[in-house]
């Protein structure tokens, strides 16, 4: 349990046995004792990703039918093979071979991973996609939707059987842009999460109102020894220093 949860409950004095802070990830402990956080995805982005995939597949089939229409009976046969492949092999092959992402999942920033965070293999990919025929019952994925809403990690039946999770992929981080300020070493030794908070302030404060910036900077008066816009500037300096800009 994180220390801040204890602190929050001690201040409010509500629960005798405080529950853990509510978060949306699935925690996996590796044998080395490292806690991996898999941000599980719920039904809304998944349904949208599925819709995008549906459009892609229909478009592919349309193009295929136009091309194969020229070939008469043979074309019809090939088209049926294509239909089968596009509807059943498309998700399996893409998920297993393309980093757990179909085009729809990529567009929505989702990825399929194994229940322990490892890349999804061929067998789980096949199982979870074959289980779609159960999730589709009785109409329009109603069973899968109910399971997805009920499950804490948003898994449909196929995910439960294949032991996979759909997770949000964090957007690729670009080099943080900080307001320029003279880098300045902190006067105190700061813990890692405190350093992260100061850097986060440097990144996000320019989008806050001036009053709010000053309010936040005033909280750290014991560290910077100044308040108001001077305090904000000093925090920018600290953030620049923490990012290694000397």
């Amino acid at each position: 349990m994180p220390p801040q949860a204890v602190a929050a409950h001690e201040r409010t004095g509500t629960a005798a046995a405080p529950a853990a802070m509510l978060d949306t990830y699935r925690e996996v402990l590796t044998p080395e004792g490292v806690a991996l956080h898999l941000p599980a995805a719920g039904p809304v982005p998944r349904a949208l990703a599925w819709l995008i995939d549906l459009f892609v597949r229909v478009a592919v089939l349309l193009a295929l039918s136009m091309l194969l229409g020229l070939l008469g009976g043979l074309g019809q046969g090939l088209y049926l093979v294509g239909l089968f492949l596009v509807f059943w092999a498309y998700p399996i092959v893409l998920e297993a071979a393309w980093n757990g992402q179909t085009p729809g999942k990529r567009a929505l920033g989702l990825r399929v991973v194994a229940g322990d965070g490892a890349p999804v293999g061929w067998l789980p990919a096949v199982v979870r996609n074959l289980m779609r025929s159960v999730d589709m019952l009785p109409f329009g994925y109603a069973t899968g939707l109910a399971s997805c809403l009920y499950d804490r990690h948003g898994r449909r039946l196929g995910d439960l059987v294949a032991d996979t999770v759909v997770v949000h992929v964090a957007p690729r981080r670009i080099d943080p842009v900080l307001p320029p300020a003279t880098p300045q070493a902190p006067a105190q030794v700061l813990l890692p999460d405190e350093q992260a908070a100061i850097v986060a302030f440097g990144e996000r404060a320019p989008r806050l109102s001036a009053g709010r910036q000053a309010e936040l900077a005033a909280l750290l008066f014991p560290l910077t020894g100044s308040a108001g816009s001077e305090g904000v500037r000093r925090l920018y300096g600290l953030a620049n220093w923490l990012l290694g800009r000397r």
Binding site: Q4, A7, A8, H9, R11, A15, P18, A19, M21, L22, D23, T24, P39, A41, G42, P43, V44, P45, A47, L48, L70, L71, L74, G77, G109, L123, L137, P138, F139, G140, Y141, A142, T143, L145, L149, R152, H168, P171, Q188, L190, D193, A197, A200, F201, R204, A205, L208, A210, G211, R212, L216, L219, L220, F221, P222, L223, G225, S226, G228, E230
Partner: protein, 504 residues
């Protein structure tokens, strides 16, 4: 709203992930949401359907139920807005609070805002923040701004979800019908729908839609509430504030008195110019009137210059675009395509035979390679529920006391073929003798490196070299399984007997 009392973990999330936070919150407070939800919607559902039945317009009940959704959505919002601080309001409290909760916003949401696509995101702004007038409008813009598209997609998706669940409930009836009776019952169902559905069927549809709405409605509101929380975290940097508060508490607790004095001195010594600048930073930019005061003259020459500047091509808004267009309209050409039927026939013949041959080859390959992949498939199909291998424990034997005549015992062991034991005895004896001669107290279970370090205290060079040699021989034997030659062992033993003063 005090962010430090929040019961949920705040961090910057994408809008999609923020929805998961809302639904996770709903799962935690599921009982407190659905109890009052059912208590409130069930009577309304019954009343509306009874009234509609009397009017013989049962579809009206469904439409009205759908129209009243914003009223019901206040229930999950009320519970979640308390639950976010770790408090779960009981059902009666939630129901009683609905009378006054967000009353001012309701007319808008039931009339001109009913079809707003971002209802789930903006309802918390109106109902929870309690602002009014222009301020409310601005709050809606700030909160709604970047997340509006996601909120609209959420509304649309949840609408589809409701449809899927309602139609799923209808379809579930047909799943129960035996397969041989299915075509007949489907036909009669269509006939029933086509020729004016009877009231009981419409009532069934209403029930299905009410069920779907009761499942999805709270999730919709919760996801919107998650979006709202995330937007406020973004615009007000709540997570940063929480971290700063913790840091502040730590710093204040860590350095109570002395630092405070130093800081006070620091503040007093700070250049005052820093404070003098402060108001200037946030002030509005000055207008011409403020700068020039009464000396400001409306100069016609200046206006003319400004107008000329706008006419200047690099600054002005006019530009010439040249593009090419075909003179003659393209005539549609319709030529019959080449006759491909012969090619198609050939290809189909090839494909047919090719497919059969390919299938045969594949089948043969699968059968022939079965011994190779079958165990692999069996292995990978097994659930990987690994049981941790039990750790083998061995009771440590008490170390035997060293014999009086170490050298002869070690030699006997060597001759009996127990070379390892002989070397172990030699090593143990050497360590004991070394610690005696060097006057060092070794900790129990000292490693070879520790012994070697202790051996540096030995007064004689020869003794140090001998001890290092014994350790090296023992380590080769113990860890690499490389035993010394017989002569080497003998010479080592002799040297040890002389050096450590073992008898004979």
């Amino acid at each position: 709203m005090r962010p430090e009392d929040l019961d949920v973990a705040l961090r910057p999330r994408s809008s999609w992930e923020a929805m998961e936070l809302g639904t996770a919150l709903l799962r935690r407070h599921a009982g407190a949401v659905w109890q009052p939800w059912l208590l409130a919607t069930l009577p309304v559902f019954a009343l509306l359907n009874a009234a509609a039945w009397m009017l013989d317009r049962l579809w009206l009940a469904m439409v009205l139920m759908w129209w009243l959704k914003p009223l019901f959505e206040r229930i999950p919002l009320y519970v979640l807005s308390r639950g976010v601080f770790g408090r779960t309001p009981p059902a009666w409290e939630t129901l009683r609070a609905q009378v006054a909760f967000g009353r001012g916003a309701m007319p808008g949401y039931l009339l001109w805002r009913r079809l707003s696509p971002a209802r789930s995101l903006l309802l918390p702004v109106d109902v929870l923040e309690g602002t009014a007038g222009t301020q409310r409008w601005m709050r809606r813009r700030v909160v709604g701004g970047p997340a509006y598209a996601q909120a609209a997609l959420l509304t649309w998706t949840c609408w589809l979800f409701e449809l899927a669940l309602a139609l799923g409930a209808v379809a579930a009836v047909f799943v129960a019908v035996p397969a041989e009776l299915l075509p007949a019952s489907l036909r009669s169902f269509w006939a029933l729908l086509y020729g004016g559905p009877p009231p009981w069927l419409l009532l069934g549809f209403n029930l299905a839609f009410w069920l779907a709405m009761s499942v999805i409605g709270p999730f919709y509101t919760a996801a919107g509430f998650g979006l709202y929380l995330n937007r406020r975290t973004e615009t007000e940097a709540w997570d940063v504030e929480l971290a700063f508060r913790r840091l502040r508490e730590r710093l204040l607790a860590q350095a109570a008195a002395p630092l405070a004095v130093a800081l006070l001195a620091c503040t007093l010594l700070l250049p005052w110019s820093a404070y003098a600048q402060e108001p200037g930073d946030d002030a509005e930019p000055a207008t011409l009137e403020q700068v020039f005061g009464p000396r400001l003259a409306d100069d016609a020459g200046f206006r003319e210059a400004a107008a000329r500047a706008y006419r200047d091509p690099p600054l002005g808004g006019e530009r010439t675009l040249v593009e090419w267009k075909p003179k003659a309209k393209e005539r549609p050409q319709r030529r019959p395509g080449p006759d491909l039927s012969a090619l198609a026939a050939l290809l189909s013949l090839l494909a047919e035979w090719g497919l059969w041959i390919l299938a045969g080859v594949l089948l043969l390959a699968v059968v022939l390679t079965a011994p190779r992949w079958l165990p692999w498939l069996r292995g990978s199909l097994r659930r990987r529920r690994t049981v941790p291998t039990p750790v083998a424990t061995v009771v440590l034997a008490e170390p035997e006391p060293l014999p009086d005549d170490i050298a002869s015992v070690a030699r006997r062991l060597w001759q009996d073929g127990r070379q390892r034991d002989a070397l172990a005895l030699l090593y143990r004896g050497s360590v004991e003798a070394m610690s005696l001669q060097a006057g060092v107290e070794l900790p129990p279970g000292a490693t070879e490196a520790q012994c070697l370090r202790a051996a540096r205290r030995l007064p004689l060079d020869a003794a140090r070299e001998l001890f290092a040699g014994v350790v090296r021989v023992w380590q080769y034997a113990a860890y690499a399984g490389r035993l010394p030659e017989q002569d080497e062992f003998e010479s080592l033993l002799d040297a040890a007997r002389v050096q450590w003063g073992w008898s004979r």
